[in-house]
């Protein structure tokens, strides 16, 4: 398949992802938008790094499975999604079945509290779209990053708010990883929750690649 067709195909596949029925505020449940997810995955596998095809891939806080499905479509040898929430995992399972993927697995666990050490340095690639952190759980995305860097033996791809860039890069360095911003993106969050006054909120996020 021509690369440009592959991007279109990926986006079409990700448009068919079922989403959270009742998003939970505490878990910051937002679906990774299809145009964003497809561009991330396209960069990770097709145009730049070849970090999915034939690899063991983890998706931390996998939610409804947008990134897991995308990595499955791009022929990861196995993707394992780690997610705490049962409702999200029900939709995750539905998405895996709808997309007829047999190379995607999931584990229900608390990514930040008890992910077994046996997984350390097991994955070739770790993907995540972590919670960005709010007043109530500030710094949660850095805890996700710490776990991701522990699990991967090669690379980690992640999204973080642009406003925290210096902190993210320093934090990664303190953990012995080298971070690079691949792109600045506009994350157009639809007003998922009742307390959102505006129709949608545009957040500036950085798309990172970290090398272990």
């Amino acid at each position: 398949m021509f690369p440009c067709l592959k991007l279109k195909y990926l986006e079409e596949r990700l448009q068919c992802i079922s989403e959270f029925e009742k998003p939970k505020i505490l878990l910051e449940q937002y679906v990774t938008p299809s145009h964003l997810g497809s561009h991330m995955l396209y960069t990770i596998q097709v145009s730049q790094y070849g970090d999915i095809d034939g690899k063991l891939v983890a998706d931390l806080g996998s939610g409804c499975g947008a990134l897991s499905v995308g990595a499955g479509v791009l022929d990861a040898s196995l993707v394992i999604g780690f997610e705490i929430d049962s409702d999200a995992l029900d939709i995750f399972t539905e998405n895996i079945i709808d997309h007829e993927l047999t190379n995607v697995d999931a584990v229900q666990c608390d990514v930040l509290k008890h992910l077994p050490n046996r997984f350390d340095k097991t994955f070739d690639t770790v993907l995540m779209n972590p919670p960005f952190g709010t007043k109530h759980n500030a710094g949660i995305d850095m805890k996700f990053l710490e776990t991701a860097l522990r699990l991967s033996k090669n690379s980690v791809y992640s999204l973080h708010k642009t406003s925290t860039r210096n902190h993210v890069l320093k934090y990664a360095e303190s953990l012995g990883a080298k971070g690079e911003v691949l792109a600045e993106l506009h994350y157009d969050l639809p007003s998922t929750y009742k307390f959102h006054k505006k129709h949608s909120v545009d957040i500036e996020v950085d798309f990172y690649r970290f090398i272990i």
Binding site: G54, K55, L56, D75, S77, L78, I80, I84, S86, L89, D90, T93, T102, N103, D105, A106, V107, Q108, C109, D110, K113, H114, P116, N117, R118, F119, T122
Partner: protein, 124 residues
């Protein structure tokens, strides 16, 4: 849940558990589905596996077929052997059943192919 995933899971995070590995398996529903065979991937993953745990897991759910009890010499170049490992690691899916902590007997349910490893506050 694939047996590759099982090979990594532990219950070590539980209070009072020192190793928590390997987790026992009770299975009520297994599905076998075809997965693309990538010999390089399988060859790379073999050194990281706990082979006896994989062997016993496959045996306990009746999916051993003719997997050797030990990793053979020069496995990287033996396509037939790698194919067998591929099958056991990636094509066998435990859909419903439970995982069992070897030290406490705590059961972790597997529903719709997903093991639930969540612990209660008083278990951590």
């Amino acid at each position: 849940m694939k047996l590759l995933t099982h090979n990594m899971l532990t219950s070590k995070c539980m209070k009072g558990v020192t190793v928590g590995y390997p987790l026992g398996i009770n299975v009520s529903d297994v599905r076998v589905s075809e997965v693309d065979f990538n010999p390089e991937f399988v060859a790379k993953i073999i050194p990281k596996l706990d082979w006896p745990v994989l062997y016993n897991a496959a045996e306990s759910i009746g999916q051993l077929e003719d997997l050797p009890k030990e990793v053979i010499d020069n496995f990287e170049n033996d396509r037939e052997f790698l194919k067998k490992v591929h099958h056991v690691l990636l094509e066998v899916d435990i859909i419903n059943g439970e995982l069992i902590c070897p030290e406490t007997g705590r059961k972790f349910p597997i529903n719709n192919g997903i093991p639930n490893m969540l612990l209660n506050e008083d278990e951590i």
